[in-house]
């Protein structure tokens, strides 16, 4: 039963940190809460035996993407004082809308039967290991994998083009 209590603990940490992202006044705190969320999600991947995704989640999300966010926030010198605020009414309306979405989704999912959750006869617990996933990735999903590299090239060129300062008053 240790694993199920670990599930509840990690879920609690992830949801608490996700709320922190939304509620924190200081953008730097939001980023740090988001990193905490990503770490607890990596814990989820680990207890689901998806080691590859746990490692990639740490490296790509907590490592690369969040450093980029933190870098931009510090570069732009954003803090709690510069934080724009919505009127209270708009905030309450937005929170009610988000809560209603949660209610509707949960009500719709309550009657769902996901079916047989696992089939013990053909179950393979090694599915999330690097060797197994690499085999699938480089045979069945070879073309999407190569296309992802083209996407990265396009994103890199786009980011450099956007970041370049241009002559004139308006930098568009």
């Amino acid at each position: 039963m240790a694993s199920s209590s670990l599930f509840f603990f990690l879920s609690f940490v992830a949801l608490f940190a996700a709320l922190g992202v939304v509620l924190a006044k200081n953008p730097v705190h939001s980023v740090l809460f988001l990193i905490l969320t990503f770490f607890s999600l990596s814990g989820h991947y680990l207890i689901l035996n998806a080691q590859f995704l746990a490692a990639v989640n740490i490296i790509v999300y907590a490592g690369a993407i969040m450093v980029l966010f933190l870098f931009v926030i510090m570069f732009l010198n954003l803090n709690a004082d510069t934080e724009p605020h919505k009127p209270l009414l708009a905030k309450v309306a937005a929170a009610v809308a988000g809560g209603s979405l949660l209610l509707v989704l949960v009500a719709a999912l309550r009657d769902v039967q996901p079916g047989t959750t696992y089939n013990a006869a053909v179950f393979d617990s090694q599915i999330g290991m690097v060797s197994q996933l690499g085999m699938v990735l480089y045979t069945k999903y070879l073309l999407p994998f190569e296309l992802a590299s083209v996407l990265f090239l396009a994103a890199m060129v786009g980011a450099v083009m956007l970041g370049k300062r241009e002559t004139g008053e308006r930098n568009f």
């Binding site: 694993s3 988000g98 990265f152």
Partner: protein, 110 residues
Amino acid sequence: MEQTIPEVIRTVPLEYYIYFATALFAIGVTGVLTRRNAIIIFMCVELMLNAVNVLLTAFSAYRSDPNGQIFVFFIMAVAAAEVSVGLGIIVMIYRNFQNTDVNLLNRLKW
């Protein structure tokens, strides 16, 4: 064979993962609606992407099917590309308006 099945798959029903991902997604939606700082809105979009990742991984692990985890890998790759371009756009907005308030961009409406 029973021994090789991870304990969490035997003890936690798949529904719990669905509810957890739903709650995470709803928090992300609420964040996009409540905040006005473009960077925070962007982070809340990442939160929603991760809710979907958790759901895909859970289904993939419970059904012992590697395709779902490959999809998560591709979602992460696309998210990384999206973040680099999106933050470039935010830096450019900041250079022009000295602010990252999304309401400054309402002229895009016309």
